[in-house]
Point group: C2
Chain length 174, copies 2
Amino acid sequence: MAILTAARELLAEAGYAELTIEAIAARAGVGKQTIYRWWRGKGAIILDALMETGDNVEPLPDSGDLRADLVAVVRATVAELADPRLSATTRALTIETLSNDELAEQVRDRVLRPQMEAIKDRLRTGPLRPEINLDQAVELLIGPPYHRWMLRTGPLTDEYADGVVDLALAAFQK
Amino acid sequence: MAILTAARELLAEAGYAELTIEAIAARAGVGKQTIYRWWRGKGAIILDALMETGDNVEPLPDSGDLRADLVAVVRATVAELADPRLSATTRALTIETLSNDELAEQVRDRVLRPQMEAIKDRLRTGPLRPEINLDQAVELLIGPPYHRWMLRTGPLTDEYADGVVDLALAAFQK
């Protein structure tokens, strides 16, 4: 759809702070009213743009090697965060989540929960200590990279991703 | 200072999205030009307002019991995030960090690094496995609560804080 494509292009080119409904309308060749008929604001457009790219969450592979499977997903997450173009949407949605309660619930339920559930499903086959809370286990894998990305406190590399997995596994399998 | 006090009050009352330079100027009884002479925008004002409240980072106590000391700091962090009024400033600074590169560096260096260094100092006396990377260790304690707060994926309680510490300690002390 032209509007969502325009929104994605502009986001990658100029960033979220610069993104306006006017610019999206101009790029898509429609009037602003057309956009406001369907979306409340730019956050809602970006959310739909993200969902439309088919960024559907696939189940994690289960190779039988928990470390290898977690390294694959954490490396991919860290690489996406490290790339300013790829992480532009995540940045935009995080800003909206912090600013807008209604959108926050949608981002959580449509984007975040499916990603977290996919990791939980892989953790469920373990091996993990039986008393591990799976919600907290997922946070241990993705909370630190997210924190580091958001607050720019350190490099986002494969080596870092592997270190996150190794620390988490030490906790899960003590 | 009247401007910083006005900014803090308005932030607590109305939230960051609603906060404007006009409103801060009106509440402080000054002209907008006075504000723009000293600050570039509302993010910079909030950062100074936060620094002014004397929210200086104290060294963590070292009781000799690592779990007790970490439970104290993680519970306090989680309680602050769980309180909408107390976390309004953190919310505002996180939004600005994601939107504004220049401010991001200031937030990191003036607010975040001192907090993380205080936790690192306590971790340094351990006991921890010697190969643990202290930057990653701190992220393991504060990344998950921050992620949960930001993305609203679960409750922020003392029980949760204790669980974060126990998982992290299992990783640190395996």
